[in-house]
């Protein structure tokens, strides 16, 4: 089979296409660093998850250490069960506090992990006991108004 000019141009086309895919994969998108093989799963129960969504980031000290993989409703305890995957590189103590926070005033909600002081570390399929629910603005306003009303009574 002879090499032709066509082959050359098709080669250029294929290489350019591959380059574009690679550009999209590495520069534009982030290849999923947290692979299922190198991460461990932890569950946490919350009274209220607010606007937390599956695939929301799990951050500790502002750094992304994992992702939320599942949110279920526990019909017996009437609580939300949040499953998260954390990168194997990071270990957290047993008494870590999981809190649902908001980045910025209107930003997306994420799960913040505050490391505790326990010497034992969380393992795969462990539960986090210390949790702090999402702040619901309506409740906050309600509490504020109630507090104001109480002040008025005591005076």
């Amino acid at each position: 089979m002879n090499k032709t000019v066509l082959d050359f141009w098709v080669g250029v086309f294929v290489i350019a296409g591959m380059g574009a895919v690679l550009f999209l994969a590495l520069k534009v998108g982030s290849m999923n660093v947290v692979k299922t093989s190198s991460s461990y799963e932890i569950t946490a129960k919350f009274d209220n998850v607010g606007g937390l969504k599956v695939r929301a980031p799990v951050k500790s000290a502002g750094v992304v250490v994992g992702r939320v993989t599942d949110i279920q409703f526990d019909g017996e305890a009437f609580e939300a069960i949040v499953t998260l995957r954390i990168d194997n590189r990071y270990a957290f103590p047993k008494d870590t506090l999981a809190a649902i926070m908001t980045s910025g005033l209107l930003g997306e909600q994420y799960l913040g992990l505050d490391a505790g002081g326990d010497s034992e570390m969380l393992k795969d399929q462990d539960k986090i006991f210390l949790t702090q629910s999402a702040v619901v603005l309506e409740n906050l306003i309600g509490q504020f108004l109630y507090g104001k009303a109480q002040e008025g009574v005591s005076e």
Binding site: V10, M18, V21, L24, G29, S30
Partner: protein, 262 residues
């Protein structure tokens, strides 16, 4: 009068069903006769040149301009909310998920799809396909299948190039021209775009579009009445049908792929 109308509707319905059946048989025949397209890879490479490489210029230039327009318009809107750093996210996500595959497929349908239909229609009109059959050469294996696979292979590359070029265009307008911060442009884009969810789904979309467009173009050419009028009609039908098919398929695929994300 009434009878003629009803008869006309009936005839068209029956013809439509007949055509769908024939198209399905034709598509399966192409798949079963694809061996030659890979055994004699030179044939397919030749067709990749004609469908893919020659479509490069229109794809790259359109991609650049679409990205530049996205940059301008996105900036205008985002600026109102004081979040112009999110420009990279807006440009990249809309290109990678939707505009890249869809617009590249529409351009591909009008640039390469129409050419395929005209070529095959003319081959049929001048009885070249019948001549091949006379010489015991299967025209579907020799002519149709290489063009089919060339289209299916070219389409994802063209869509990826379109997206990459569009993001570059958005970068040119957003960062170089307007002056959005370069670091946050790229880093926010990287944070928001995920390879599996966004990039890979976009590539899957473009492969599906490639299959749809080339299958429609080949069928219309093969089915064209062997007259000048017939070939021109078939070429028009290719562009219209494949563009509509791309848009309809895009809706279905998007509904499947991105339902869980918001």
């Amino acid at each position: 009068m009434l009878k003629a109308t009803i008869e006309g509707i009936g005839r068209r319905t029956i013809q439509g069903i007949w055509r769908i059946g024939f198209a399905t048989r034709f598509f399966l025949l192409v798949l079963f006769n694809s061996g030659t397209a890979f055994r004699r890879i030179g044939l397919t490479i030749r067709e990749i040149y004609f469908t893919g490489v020659l479509s490069l210029i229109i794809i790259l230039v359109s991609g650049l301009f679409v990205g530049m327009v996205l940059g301008l318009q996105g900036y205008e809107t985002l600026q109102t909310y004081g979040s112009e750093e999110a420009l990279g996210v807006l440009v990249a996500l809309s290109l990678v998920r939707e505009l890249g595959p869809v617009v590249a497929a529409l351009l591909f349908a009008s640039r390469a799809g129409s050419a395929i239909t005209a070529e095959i229609g003319l081959m049929k009109a001048t009885e070249q396909l019948s001549a091949m059959e006379m010489m015991a050469v299967n025209p579907i294996a020799r002519v149709v299948a290489p063009r089919f696979w060339a289209g299916v292979i070219s389409m994802p590359f063209l869509a990826a190039l379109f997206s990459a070029m569009g993001i570059f265009g958005g970068y040119l307008v957003g960062v170089v021209l307007i002056g959005v911060d370069e670091g946050s442009f790229w880093s926010q884009m990287k944070n928001a775009v995920e390879f599996e969810q966004d990039v890979l789904n976009g590539i899957i979309k473009s492969v599906v579009f490639g299959i749809a467009i080339t299958a429609i173009a080949l069928f219309e050419g093969y089915d064209a009445p062997p007259t000048a009028e017939g070939v021109s009609g078939a070429t028009t039908r290719t562009v219209v049908t494949s563009s509509l098919a791309v848009l309809a398929l895009d809706f279905v695929l998007t509904a499947f792929m991105f339902r869980g994300i918001s």
